[in-house]
């Protein structure tokens, strides 16, 4: 029996290793051969592919993206977008081979692998095999070890490091790392962020995606699988979520040929791609530094015999991310009518389409938690996979909402973590929650409880509640009110950027005669005080309230009760708020809302 199991597993592994595609990987492709092979893939699989030029390099070469989708000619905003990039750095030829291999395998297996076909049908997969075409050409024809692009810096030197040219923490920062400002150096970051057309092209391409799920950028060499941040040793928001994916990826890579990639690099650097994506989009973003581990094994030029084993071992990590992005297997509702679609809510300019901070799948017993007591926290995990799902991790956190809007983030307090088995349909998980004694940082009896569900085959790819069905949250904010009053809604900017605040009050469902209105106005800007915050607002014609990084503001809201309102009347006041960072490019709206559960007390 043991022999049979061994042979079965061996065959399974072998079949997953065999190159199912039509391309060969016995030699490094020239730039022209990449073009030829992309066209070959497109003509062989016309119903699944589309090649588009998304921009030009500094020397005018096209930067191409291969789209893989069951609807390649339609931009379907219901489908998640998954992005793979290769060759930021010219000498890292193996990354081009990996990108081509990924494309080749996805297309070849579509007709034979039902699970993968379902994933692809739910997604738009974008593969950019060459971010740096000028550098690639130069590396092929002139200097094998070239890293940068081929901008003429005007002083006799050439090139900018494309993976130091992204905006987050670029250059002028307080992080302590400025990055290289010397055009001579191989890590030169350029005259400004996005100064390089290659990187501006990627920025613009990402900003055009409608449902951006995750991002993987290939590099060599060192054998590392890395998550944000690159610019600091401090942990990013969602560190636990990102680490779960890193660990899974490293395990999957090691399972193929025994190469255990590490998860840390020895130094910090700024202006890097995954930092930009995680900060700006909160879409899971990773860097793989592939084979080999040292220069003695070939460094940037390992022998061509390394191409196939390198690609084979890195494929499973990519497939796992694709699966995470495609499926809603284990999930929780964000609001009553939620059907699990991602995102569950969108900012409409004047408020969120749905109040996603009132998950019906999170509740307490008793229903209104009392400070300083222990309550039962109940979480409904839904399972539409049709299978019993074992080893499901369920985590619950509570946040002081004045600090954070991510789950989990650095300020999240873990309530409990359980590993459970969830049958088809779902299961209710019960945890003990010690409700904090006292008030939150803004003097409010207000906590956000968030729940996460994770499984090796189904990971959250963000910390934003409305963008993944793996996370749900519930505000607990009871208020006893005896007469008309003014209360304060606190807004805190947890970002590293100044941000414009918008606040909207949802008046649907208020009892007759009850009125809730904001009592603040946008402060006039004193033109005699010209600060960076002021100039930023002027640069984008912002007219809203601007908060500096980590600045908070208490916005007064007037609650007017009619004289004849009955004692014991209960209703919810939903305050929607959003933060839009003052940055160039697409300004992703983040935020959520507060739901004040009003109970009319005896006068």
């Amino acid at each position: 029996m043991k022999q049979f199991i061994f042979i079965f597993v061996f065959v399974v592994i072998l079949s997953s290793l065999s190159n199912a595609g039509i391309l060969t990987f016995t030699a490094y492709r020239t730039p022209a051969q990449v073009e030829t092979d992309l066209n070959l893939l497109a003509t062989t699989y016309p119903a699944l592919t589309k090649i588009t030029s998304i921009g030009n390099s500094i020397q005018g070469r096209q930067i191409k993206v291969l789209k893989i989708s069951s609807t390649p000619n339609i931009n379907d905003n219901k489908k998640g977008d998954v992005v793979f990039l290769a060759l930021h750095h010219a000498r890292e030829w193996l990354t081009v081979e990996m990108a081509m291999y990924l494309a080749d395998e996805l297309l070849a297996r579509y007709s034979t692998d039902n699970e993968l076909a379902t994933d692809i049908n739910n997604l738009q997969i974008w593969i950019v095999p060459i971010v740096n075409p000028d550098g690639y050409q130069y590396s092929y024809t002139t200097y094998r070890n070239w890293r940068k692009n081929r901008r003429d810096n005007g002083d006799g030197t050439f090139g900018v490091d494309l993976n130091r040219n992204y905006s987050y923490q670029w250059g002028i920062t307080s992080s302590g790392i400025e990055g290289s400002n010397n055009p001579l150096e191989d890590t030169y970051h350029g005259t400004s962020s996005f100064s390089e057309p290659e990187v501006a092209t990627i920025r613009d391409f990402l900003s055009g995606l409608t449902n951006f799920k995750c991002f993987l950028t290939y590099h060599t060499y060192w054998e590392l699988f890395l998550r944000p941040w690159s610019y600091t040793l401090s942990d990013p928001p969602g560190e636990a979520t990102l680490n779960s994916i890193v660990e899974r990826s490293i395990n999957r890579i090691a399972a193929i040929h025994g190469h255990t990639y590490a998860e840390e690099i020895s130094y910090r650097c700024n202006g890097e791609a995954t930092d930009y994506v995680w900060n700006g989009y909160r879409s899971a973003a990773f860097t793989t530094e592939m084979r080999p581990t040292s220069s003695s094994l070939g460094g940037f030029a390992p022998p061509a015999t390394e191409i196939i084993p390198n690609n084979e071992e890195n494929l499973p990590a990519a497939l796992a991310l694709i699966h995470d992005a495609a499926r809603t297997g284990l999930w929780m509702k964000d609001y009553d009518g939620d059907n699990g679609s991602e995102p569950s809510a969108e900012w409409l300019g004047v408020g969120w389409s749905h109040a996603f901070w009132e998950s019906p799948d999170i509740w307490t017993d008793p229903a209104i938690p009392v400070a300083g007591t222990t309550v039962n926290l109940k979480i409904q995990i839904r399972n539409n996979t049709g299978n019993q799902m074992g080893n499901v991790t369920v985590e619950a956190y509570y946040n002081d909402p004045s600090f954070s809007i991510d789950f989990p983030d650095l300020h999240s307090n873990l309530i409990d973590r359980k590993i459970v088995s969830v049958p088809p349909g779902g299961k209710t998980i019960i945890m003990d929650w010690n409700v904090p004694e006292g008030l939150n940082n803004n003097g409010e009896n207000h906590w956000c409880v968030g729940a996460l569900v994770k499984h090796d085959e189904d990971m959250p790819l963000t910390t934003q509640v409305q963008r993944t069905s793996n996370i749900a949250c519930r505000n607990f904010h009871p208020m006893i009110v005896t007469s008309s009053m003014v209360f304060f809604s606190s807004v805190f900017n947890p970002l590293d950027h100044a941000a414009e605040v918008k606040l909207n009050i949802d008046k649907k469902g208020l009892p007759f005669g009850v009125d809730v209105t904001p009592r603040f106005s946008v402060p006039r800007k004193d033109v005699s005080i010209v600060t960076s915050k002021y100039r930023k607002a002027r640069l984008i014609n912002s007219r809203g309230i601007i908060l500096d990084p980590k600045e908070s503001i208490n916005l007064p809201i007037r609650l007017r009760l009619p004289d004849n309102i009955k004692t014991g009347t209960e209703f919810d006041v939903k305050v929607h708020y959003s933060l839009q960072p003052l940055i160039a490019g697409k300004r992703e709206v983040i935020g959520n809302g507060n739901t004040y559960h009003i109970v009319v007390g005896k006068k």
């Binding site: 905006s167 002027r538 003052l582």
Partner: protein, 214 residues
């Protein structure tokens, strides 16, 4: 007929020789700005602000030092920037325009460094340096032969032995191109990468052991 043949052969010979000599002549470096346009300077708060400026105005940046940015601008662009609240001054273009050039050796390295140039690489009969136009003019008046680079300057492949990860951070921060690092028992770390001579000098001043591979 024979004379014509000899004359023709001589002409061909002379043209060939002059062609060879022409190819062997390294061009003198020039110390004029690349154009006559004025360069302006203003301060920005952070890279987000610079990004917003670029998004709105797409200004032609020349260089950046700290929070000072140097750029070209038309009168209307200057007015727009001032209207937003920026204080703008005209910069001395000779101080902000740089060249990487070859200087044939004369005297000591200390003398040439007094002009404020940066030593890039030391070669057998010349130095490769980076300096602004004022510094290069000064060298020229001191009698140094300064030539344009015929090819791009390349860093040297190096191995560096350090004790601590903080040292690896330092190596990165001085702009060394790090390929990878390996932890070695009893040593600390060996960092593999590529560095110019001025970076090698900095690392040696920190007592790192630097081996030049090529």
């Amino acid at each position: 007929m024979i004379y014509r043949l000899i004359l023709f052969a001589s002409l061909v010979f002379v043209l060939t020789i002059s062609g060879c000599c022409q190819r062997g002549i390294i061009k003198d470096a020039t110390f004029e700005p690349e154009n006559n346009r004025p360069v302006y300077v203003m301060q920005v708060g952070d890279s987000d602000e610079l990004g917003l400026i670029q998004q709105r105005f797409k200004i032609q940046l020349k260089s950046r030092e700290g929070s000072n940015i140097y750029f070209y601008a038309s009168e209307s662009l200057l007015d727009s920037l001032k209207e937003i609240g920026y204080t703008i001054q005209q910069a001395d273009v000779n101080q902000v325009e740089f060249r990487v050039v070859k200087v044939f050796k004369k005297g000591t390295e200390e003398e040439i460094l007094k002009t404020g140039i940066r030593m890039i690489n030391r070669e057998k009969d010349h130095w490769i340096i980076r300096g602004n136009l004022i510094q290069l003019q000064l060298l020229s008046t001191k009698g140094y032969s300064i030539k344009k680079m015929e090819t791009e300057v390349r860093p040297r492949q190096v191995e560096i032995k350090v004790k601590d990860k903080k040292d690896i951070q330092y190596i990165n921060d001085i702009g060394v191109d790090i390929f990878n690092s390996v932890e070695k028992a009893g040593i600390g770390f060996i960092v593999y990468g590529a560095a110019f001579d001025y970076q090698i000098d900095l690392m040696k001043s920190k007592k790192y052991e630097v081996i030049i591979k090529q």
